[in-house]
């Protein structure tokens, strides 16, 4: 996977993860173009796009769009399932996730993503294991939160 973007129906970026080195300017241009292209598409249309030399796989969950860019030979359907699994993970973690959860706790959403995908490849597809890893780290936070500073 080359990158993953989460954005709202209004086109506001909620999360961005880049697995290929790109300059800030390129990133901005790509996300702007893609958000525009995807928002212009109708709901009944195909979830796959050929965009420049990349393949874009996107899906809308409530008010949020999840969008991944993969290489040409990658499997589109499994990418769609990656998105779905990520949503499941967020859902399990936040308990019926909504856009606001991701806005206010975006760093958590990043931690979950990092535990699920590493360097653009799925590293752990078991829901239980991903959440276990996250919770172990979170637990430390709880413990330290109680520590006097």
């Amino acid at each position: 996977m080359q990158f993953m973007l989460l954005f709202s129906r209004q086109g506001k970026l909620r999360l961005q993860k880049w697995y290929v080195p790109l300059s800030d300017k390129e990133r901005k241009k790509i996300s702007r173009d893609l958000v525009q292209t995807i928002l212009a598409r109708k709901p009944k249309m195909c979830s796959f796009l050929e965009w420049r030399d990349l393949k874009i796989v996107y899906k809308r969950y409530a008010s949020l769009y999840f969008c991944c860019a993969v290489e040409d030979q990658d499997n589109e359907l499994i990418t769609l399932e990656i998105i779905h699994r990520y949503v499941e993970l967020l859902d399990k973690y936040f308990g019926s996730v909504c856009e606001l959860d991701i806005i206010f706790n975006f760093e958590k959403a990043y931690f979950i993503l990092d535990e699920f995908l590493l360097g653009g490849e799925a590293q752990e597809t078991s829901k239980k294991n991903v959440l276990k890893a996250i919770e172990q780290a979170d637990l430390l936070q709880e413990v330290c939160g109680l520590c006097p500073r």
């Binding site: 790109l22 300059s23 050929e50 019926s96 206010f104 990092d114 590293q123």
Partner: protein
């Protein structure tokens, strides 16, 4: 982690949701981030947001710089900085602090620090060097979470040069007792392999160990590396086939822990990874493929459930089955599976079905047959993505019979999406490839405008990488074609090959011996089946290639033989002249250097459209009593008036001679490459011209009713267009969808109303748009040249159809002469010529008019059209001496000054380059260039004779061009300046 901790974890989610900081997205109004986010949502304008974020960033900046800020506060600040960056604002001052946080913070603060680093920076950032020591320290930490964080950031981004510093520690982790660490270490090594393959070469044996790891997660991670390795070099890993097959069999058989199930499908990610690996291993290898047939069949069988994830596996399975050595039984099943995809009501599956079909029809075109109707439906699908994939599929099943229709469909698509550059790229390639297969199949019976359009496609366009690749691709494929047996290639294809090789062979020059192309061409000349016309194209190409010593020697050799007694019996003057030219060129080094400058290829050629270099000759001839020149059109009219001679046999030559004495120009202002090569000063001859008539005008084929109720009506088309019977060629791709018996009379069985609509749609395709109106540039006026094409089988319907063509007069444009509509016999077109001039100079003018027509048994009707013409079309170079320029300059009263952008190129001075660009685009005349100043002149067409002039004085001023325009007409400098600006920004 101890068991105790793990037990506590299960209770955590409920704990977290009660917490105000973390967990179930409770808005944390007390936190600063919460305030910031709320503040932003309350704003109404972008401007306000900017103001707020600016304030926020300033406060962040102040806090991070303060020595009193604790690491804990820093963590909170960093989260806000990340948020601002996500909104698109720069917080680069915080990057260094993110690194500091990762270095100095406690575990949790470190986590945010690493996250910020991975979001802010990328591999090439120098800041990352500061992180190396921290990463190294964390990798060696006894805290598992710290090790995980370090491995995560390392596989996210790490400076290439620093890999050796941490490689031993990461390698060590491959034997770590915890599987999560082993897994992350494998993925980190995978990343290292991608960015610096040489550095991890010595640990290949350890990869094997990872592949055999008892934890399936670690094994899965190692497959990423193996997929990459096997893709690059399948031969070295054939021994792994057995293991991969075994793993897949176990996975499919449900032998993995239930944790790995996804929606009750066992480890789909792993399955797909394995299928991809098997595809690489079994490709073109029967032995290896045989090992995997069973497991592939089982995968197909098992993946039955109706869920997206099973479709993902099926799709990969089908791809693998069609990649490895074929087995008919499996292929059958895979084809059935594709059928399910194509017929699925789910659009995503339909898309993938089309994609799979595109892939498989290369092996067996018949597979598309059962899905004909679906394909036709998809062609008109509302989703462009589906449409495009369908075109891609059609492109694969293109053959000599359906090419016209398919190309037409592609062009239609192109017109709809002209803003999408990747689409244009795709269709360009598609058209190019189509041409190759089609030329070799049915080249000689093709209409001449098809190859011409193709050549234009190649020559057009800016000189960017894609164009170069396209050209290079064409050159390479043609060279390999010529190396084979050429006897069966159609003449017209050979001509195209010659032209392309002549123009673009230099693209591959670096890698091959310069004489090779020359020798191939020479071989063509020697073959008996090569026609005279083709020979002349070949000689033309050789002339262009005549640059290196080897090719010069070869050329001389060829010419000598050609001009020797052996060929002297040949009556063809064209061939002789070309050979003679080449001979002289090959003998004269200086001439060669002048005619074929090494770097001149990329520049567009200058064409003096006023033919002013002939002025002296003309005036001499006039003085000697010759009759003044009349255009062929005028001559025609004169003759018609005199009724002196029957012109019937010569009627055909009208458009031909027109184009031969003019520089034709489509509205797009691009010269057709065939004419370009003609005017390149090497040779121009009438034989060539008579084949080129098609290139000067655009033919609108009345393609309609592409698909009938029963399928495809391609046969009707090709039968109508070509009077000669199609040559039957052995053709493996012969489309079974176009039964030859299917022809349809357009007028017989149809309702009159429907017929009318049909008529109108085929007739006025593009009328009113630019397509049907061509501009032909002549020395004195702009001609409008209007053609209507009908497909031959319908001409009886349209006969004597067009009654009148009329142009509305308006403020800024007037029509000073026009001819009646005339049908050109045998060309199924009607032609009329109008001369248009600009009355008042303006940037752009609209030309509108009316075309009335009548069907044999119907009411007279009219159709409106309009066309916008730019000032550019009315500009001509004005040739004056420097002295005259000076006198005119002083006498003109309207002037304008402006600074323009300078064009910079590698080979030229900026001033020369800029003026050349202007000259090329706007047809100006560069009078003189002295030092940093240049003077330029042009005139506006206004009726017969000379129009109003405009003079430009240009001076290089630092990095811009100060331009001073003067003219006797008030509007001209202003409009011209606009076009100059436009021309320079486009350069």
């Amino acid at each position: 982690m101890s068991d105790v901790v793990e037990k506590t974890l299960s209770a955590l989610p409920s704990l977290l949701s009660l917490d105000s900081q973390a967990g179930a997205g409770k808005l944390s109004p007390s936190s600063k981030l919460g305030n910031l986010i709320k503040g932003i949502t309350e704003l109404t304008s972008k401007h306000e947001e900017e103001k707020l974020i600016k304030k926020e960033l300033e406060s962040i900046k102040e806090q991070v710089a303060s020595p009193n800020t604790t690491m804990r506060q820093m963590k909170e600040i960093m989260v806000r900085a990340i948020y601002c960056e996500m909104l698109g604002y720069q917080a680069s001052f915080s990057y260094i602090h993110a690194i500091k946080l990762a270095q100095q913070g406690s575990v949790l603060e470190k986590r945010v620090g690493y996250l910020a680093v991975s979001l802010f920076l990328n591999e090439t950032d120098e800041f990352l060097l500061l992180l190396v020591n921290t990463v190294l320290k964390d990798l060696q930490s006894t805290n598992l979470i710290e090790v995980c964080m370090a491995l995560t950031v390392v596989s996210q981004m790490f400076p290439k040069d620093m890999i050796p510093a941490i490689l031993p520690v990461v390698e060590e982790k491959l034997t770590h007792p915890k599987e999560i660490i082993r897994r992350k270490a494998v993925l980190a090594l995978y990343k290292f392999y991608l960015i610096a393959p040489n550095q991890v070469q010595h640990i290949h044996s350890k990869f094997r160990k990872a592949l055999c790891d008892k934890d399936p997660g670690v094994m899965t991670a190692s497959l990423h590396i193996y997929l990459q390795l096997i893709k690059e070099n399948p031969e070295s890993y054939k021994d792994l086939t057995g293991s991969m097959v075994t793993i897949l069999r176990q996975v499919v058989g449900g032998k993995l822990p239930l944790d790995f199930n996804y929606h009750s499908v066992p480890a789909p990610w792993l399955q797909i990874q394995l299928l991809r690996i098997l595809a690489y291993l079994g490709k073109e290898d029967q032995g290896t493929s045989e090992m995997m047939y069973d497991v592939l069949e089982e995968s197909l069988r098992r993946a039955e459930m109706n869920h997206n994830i099973t479709y993902a596996i099926l799709f990969e399975c089908v791809k693998t089955i069609y990649t490895v050595h074929p087995k008919s039984q499996l292929l059958e099943k895979a084809a059935e599976c594709i059928g399910n995809f194509v017929l699925s009501p789910k659009i995503n599956l339909k898309y993938l079905g089309l994609k799979a079909l595109t892939y498989v029809v290369q092996q067996d075109a018949n597979l598309a047959l059962p899905h004909q109707m679906t394909i036709i439906e998809c062609l008109d699908h509302s989703d462009v993505i589906i449409k495009r994939e369908t075109l891609e599929l059609l492109f694969r099943i293109t053959n000599a019979q359906n090419v016209t229709v398919i190309v037409e469909k592609m062009l239609e698509f192109l017109r709809l999406t002209c803003d999408d550059y990747s689409t244009i790229d795709l269709v360009g390639k598609v058209a190019e490839l189509t041409m190759n297969s089609v030329f070799s199949l049915g080249g000689d019976v093709m209409q001449p405008d098809i190859p011409n359009n193709f050549l234009r496609l190649l020559a057009e366009g800016v000189d960017n990488v894609e164009d170069r690749q396209l050209r290079l691709f064409a050159v390479d494929s043609y060279v390999s074609l010529l190396q084979g047996v050429t006897a069966k290639l159609p003449q017209r294809f050979l001509q195209v090959i010659s032209w392309v090789l002549g123009e673009y062979s230099y693209l591959r020059e670096e890698e091959s011996d310069p004489g090779s192309v020359m020798r191939l061409l020479a071989r063509l000349l020697d073959q008996r089946h090569t026609s005279t016309e083709t020979r002349s194209w070949v000689l033309g190409a050789m002339t262009k290639l005549c640059s290196s010593p080897v090719s010069v020697a070869l050329a001389r050799d060829v010419c000598e033989r050609y001009l020797s007694s052996l060929y002297s019996g040949s009556l063809n003057t064209v061939l002789r002249q070309k050979a003679q030219e080449l001979m002289i060129l090959s003998q004269d080094t200086k001439l060669r250097a002048r005619v074929l400058p090494a770097e001149g290829r990329l520049e567009s050629l200058e064409v003096d459209s006023s033919l002013s270099f002939l002025d002296g000759y003309v005036s001499e001839a006039l003085a000697a009593g010759a009759a003044p020149y009349k255009s062929p059109h005028q001559r025609q009219e004169d003759l018609v008036q005199e009724k002196a001679l029957s012109l019937e046999p010569y009627g055909l030559s009208l458009p031909v001679s027109l184009s031969s004495c003019s520089i034709t120009d489509r509205l797009t202002d691009r010269r057709s490459p065939t004419l370009l090569s003609m005017s390149s000063g090497l040779s121009g001859n009438s034989t060539e011209l008579s084949h080129q008539e098609g290139s000067t005008t655009l033919k609108l084929e009345g393609v309609k009713r592409v698909w009938g109720k029963d399928g495809y009506l391609a046969q009707q088309q090709s039968a109508g267009e070509t009077p000669t019977p199609l040559v039957e060629l052995p053709n493996p791709l012969l489309s079974p969808q176009s039964p030859p018996s299917q022809t349809q009379k357009p007028s017989s069985g149809l309702e009159p109303d429907q017929e009318k609509r049909q008529l109108a749609s085929s007739l006025f395709v593009g009328l009113g748009s630019h397509n049907s109106v061509c501009l032909v540039r002549l020395p004195s006026t702009v001609w409008l040249f209007i053609k209507h094409c009908q497909s031959a089988n319908q001409s009886h319907v349209f006969k004597a159809l067009f009654k009148r063509f009329y142009i509305n007069s308006c403020q800024s444009i007037s029509c000073i002469s026009g001819s009646p509509l005339k049908e050109v016999k045998g060309h199924s077109v009607s032609v009329c010529l109008h001369t248009v001039v600009m009355k008042r100079a303006s940037v752009q003018v609209e030309l509108a008019g009316l075309l009335s027509y009548q069907r044999p048994l119907g009411q007279p009707q009219a159709a409106q059209f309009s066309l916008s013409l730019s000032l550019k079309h009315f500009l001509r170079p004005l040739t004056v001496s420097t002295g005259d320029y000076g006198k005119m300059w002083l006498s003109f009263s309207h002037d304008l000054k402006q600074n323009l952008r300078l064009v910079t190129t590698e080979h030229q001075e900026p001033l020369t380059a800029t003026l050349d660009a202007l000259k090329g685009k706007l047809h100006l005349h560069v009078v003189d260039i002295i030092g940093s100043e240049g003077i330029v002149a042009c005139r506006l067409l206004q009726g017969p004779g000379q129009g109003q002039p405009c003079l430009l004085h240009c001076r290089v001023n630092a990095d811009s061009l100060a331009v001073w325009l003067r003219s006797p007409v008030p509007e001209l400098p202003d409009s011209l300046l606009y076009h100059c600006q436009k021309a320079l920004t486009e350069t």
